[in-house]
Structure formats: C-alpha cells, structure tokens
C-alpha cells in the first residue's frame, strides 16, 4: 500500500504529455490566429488603398477633362484627332496666343492620361507632355453638339469601373 501511494505522489509531479500537447495546440492556434489576422488585414488594407487610388485617378481625370473642355469651348477650337505617338484618338484644343496657334493635346499613353502644350507647327513627342492621372482607357468622340468621353481605371483591379462623361459643346450649337 505504501508503495502505491509513493507511486501516485511521483506521478503527480510535473506535467503529463496530454497537458503539454493541449498547451502546444492552444499556442499554435493563437499563433495561427495572429498570423491570419496580420495577413488578412494587410490584404484588406491593400485592397482599400488600391480602390481609393483607382477612384481618385478616375475623379482627377474626369474633372480635369471637364474643366479643360469647358474653359476652351470656343468656335473651331476643340477637335478629336489621332495622336502621332500611338495613333489613338485624343482631344486637341487650339488656342490663339500672340498671333500664334498653340495646341493642347490630351491623350493616353502607357496607361497615363497626359497633356502636352505645343505650337501648332511643332513636332509633337511624348517627352513634351506631363502626367495627369493613371487610367487605362480614354475614348473621346463628338456627336452633334455632345462630346462623349469614356475613361476607365485599372482593369486588373477588383473595383474596375468606367465613367461616361458627356459635355455639351456650346461652340458647336447652331
């Protein structure tokens, strides 16, 4: 009898294997929870920032085009022409300053909406322009008095969206 009591006392010392395993599982689960939290948070954060940037670029592009057209809405001053850089349709605004004609080209190249301000007879190259906003599609067209412009953001983004702008050209009326 004394021997059995002695053995029980011995067994009660320290921790059993099951306890160690349970604690290890608990710690592992906690580690996994923290890891998942960090990974999913950084993913969500990235998505939120991407979406914000996408929306911001589209807003800047739409607002810039709208302002530029409205400011320059004069007789025979706004045209749609294929640009010499990539041959895509672009908006060209002609202004007369000090008896010389200047052209403002609004065009898309390398997923960037750009503006170049040059003399009418000057050769036009991409390095003359400056960046406006990062967009992937820019399709301008004129039908009767209405200029229609389609712009779209990053196509790879989950939040890809298009904007359809319409501007009534007062200079084309009548």
């Amino acid at each position: 009898m004394e021997g059995i009591v002695e053995l029980m006392k011995k067994n009660n010392k320290g921790v059993s294997k099951v306890e160690v395993i349970l604690v290890m599982i608990l710690i592992l689960l906690m580690g996994l929870a923290v890891f998942t939290l960090v990974v999913s948070s950084s993913d969500t954060y990235k998505n939120v920032i991407d979406e914000k940037e996408n929306l911001s670029n589209l807003r800047i592009a739409a607002s810039y085009i709208d302002n530029k057209i409205k400011q320059s809405d004069e007789q025979s001053s706004i045209y749609i022409k294929d640009n010499p850089i990539n041959g895509e349709a672009s908006i060209v605004i002609v202004q007369r300053v000090d008896n010389e004609n200047y052209e403002t080209w609004i065009y898309l190249n390398d997923k960037m909406l750009k503006e170049a301000y040059i003399k009418q007879d000057q050769e036009f190259t991409d390095d003359m322009s400056f960046d406006i906003a990062s967009i992937e599609e820019f399709v301008p067209s004129i039908k009767d008095d209405i200029m229609e412009i389609t712009i779209s953001g990053n196509k790879a983004s989950d939040t890809f969206s298009k904007r359809y702008l319409k501007i009534n050209l007062k200079s084309n009326e009548g």
Partner: protein
Amino acid sequence: MNKKNGFTLIEIIISIGIVSFLSVYLLQIFITAKNLNEVTYDLDNAVIVSKSVMESLSAGEKIGPDSDDIILKNARKLSDELIYTVKLGDDFQPVDSDFVDSSYIMNITLDLVDSSELSNMGLYNISVDIQREKPYFLKSSQNKEIYALNASKGLLLDIGGDTSD
C-alpha cells in the same frame, strides 16, 4: 528550486483577449473604409451621370425612347406631371424598368416656369437626383439620396413621347 518555463492559463487568456479586441477593432476600421470607398464611388458616379443628363438636356435631347442618350432613353414617366425615373445598375448604367433589384434610382423632375409661344421653347427648372436603393454594408438605411443637381434651362416644349407603362 524548480523553475517552470512556458505560459500560464491566465497569460494565454489575456493574449487571446488582446487578439480578439484587435481583430474586432481592425474589422470595424476595414468595414468603415470599405463603406467610405463605396460612398465615394457612388458620389463620383452620381455627379458624372447627373451632369451628363443635364448636358444632354441642354443639347436638346428628348426624354424617352426617341432619345440618343442611353439614360434619357430609359426614362419612364411616373405621373401626369413631368417626373421621370430611371433604374440604374451597379455600374450606373440603365437597367430594365421592370428589374426589381436595381442599385440606384434617378429621378428627373421638370417644372415649367415660363413658356414662349414664339420660339416653342420653355424655361424649365430641372432637378436630377440619384438615390441608392441598397443599404451599405452593415447599415440599415435604404433609399439614401446620393446627389441632387438643380438647374434652369430652356428646353423644347416637346420633350418626348409619353413613356409611362
């Protein structure tokens, strides 16, 4: 002295508590950020679509099936008064008027102020407003007005055929 290594149960419970608190807080931040992005998306699109409709009306576009403008073409007359409505999808493009699950509704209200027999023109107060039909994530309010645009414009008195259903 027998020195014990490792964590006590209390330490683990406190850690789990901190992690849970952080997750709830982070989740709340992300839901708010997502909803704010959606509000921005709605407002951006609502401004562009409302302005485009106003520009089309200024250019002499009719409201109804004869219109070249895709939004005005889908406008349906609600009553005898000059109130038109267009159902819009997630991309702010018109959907069928019978479609029950539309995301947004645009109301165009025309109010004649003064008419001129000579020029066949009338001065109208035009009001364009866009409402969101679906609530934002974890929000309950429905039919929230996103944007409203008002202007007075001279329009042709014949503003298109009756498009009421």
